[in-house]
Amino acid sequence: MPSLDDLKKRITSVKSTQKITKAMKMVATAKLRKAQENAEKGRPYSERMNNIILNLSKNISDKENSSKLLVGTGREDTHLCIVLTADRGLCGGFNTNIIKKAKNYFDKLSKEGKKFKIITVGTKGYDQLKRNYKDKIIEKISFKDSKNINYFDAEKVGSLILEKFDKEEFDICTIFYNKFKNVMTQIPQQQQIIPLQSEEENDSSNEQPDDSYEFEPDEDEILSNLLPKNISTQIFKAMLENSASEQGSRMTAMDNATRNAGELVDKLSIEYNRSRQAAITKELIEIISGAESL
């Protein structure tokens, strides 16, 4: 049975933890609004980019000879996995969910006997992966210093990927990130960016494919100019979704933590009051029984 003093100390400590989690929740809420706004603002760009590429690839006459970024190298032996996580912890299952998804994929790859390399973006991903996959991680990138997510950071990652692709260091590139659905739900995503897989392949068949475009210069040249940009765009989109997800996840986690701390304080206070009352009663009984025996 803890003494009265111990209980009192624990109550104060839980209360101050509660204050911290509450403050973190507030901060996350404020940041979430901004991150969400940014994610929404960034969507038109990547959507349009997708549309144009879709239109272009439909019109391309000679599929065999078009850019390797679109059709692949013809092999699929070496995979490159970009794992995008946050730089900070204390955001619920946010980082763990991405890592779990990525690890499943790694297991699948090694079962199939394929080689894979990892690039981590964000320090938390590196921390969690270095234990098991240290020799596979070829690069770790962190944008801790940049305050806001900006396109130049994404471009850096993009050009790194392209450089490695040009040197034929890998055949297939996949990115892992969390898609922001709403504050409560973030869905870990796995998306292949090289060679490009268009998600809307099925939807587009319903559209009338007959709107013909004029291309200047020709399709191949535009496509080879556009595809590298698309890599950076996809990374940027992933980073935006990730940051909104991170804040959302942190907000929920901190909300839960605050509530739990409140419950704990209630429980401890009851215990404290009870043992105080017990001590008083005990003293009274001692006095009374002492007086009776006289």
Binding site: N38, R48, L56, E214, P217, I222, K229
Partner: protein
Amino acid sequence: MSEEFKIEIVNPESSFYVNEGIIEAVVPAYEGEMGILKDHISIISFLKPGIIKVLTKTGEENFYVEDGILEFKNNSLSILTSIIMDLKNIDKSLLSENLKKAENELEYTELNDQARFLISQKVEILKSIN
């Protein structure tokens, strides 16, 4: 019938400029400047560094772009670009910084012709703005 069409300039961070009352847009397409009027044929092209000139009823606006891609379809022109600035309130120091960087890049010998062409275009445009 009105002679106007819609323009939307998008950069990765946001929609940069949207206007539905465009009479003419002049864009620096890769193979030369291109003026676009209403009912232009559907076209996809990419941009070299240069000035986008937009003519509206009320006046004209100018934007500096470094790269991008344009799509015109059903009287709606969309331009995707990663670097765009409004000429009216452009940051001169940023420009000269860009200019220096571009000039340095020109020094490299291993550039291919296309990259060299694009960068020298950039230098020219930046010089003319400054």
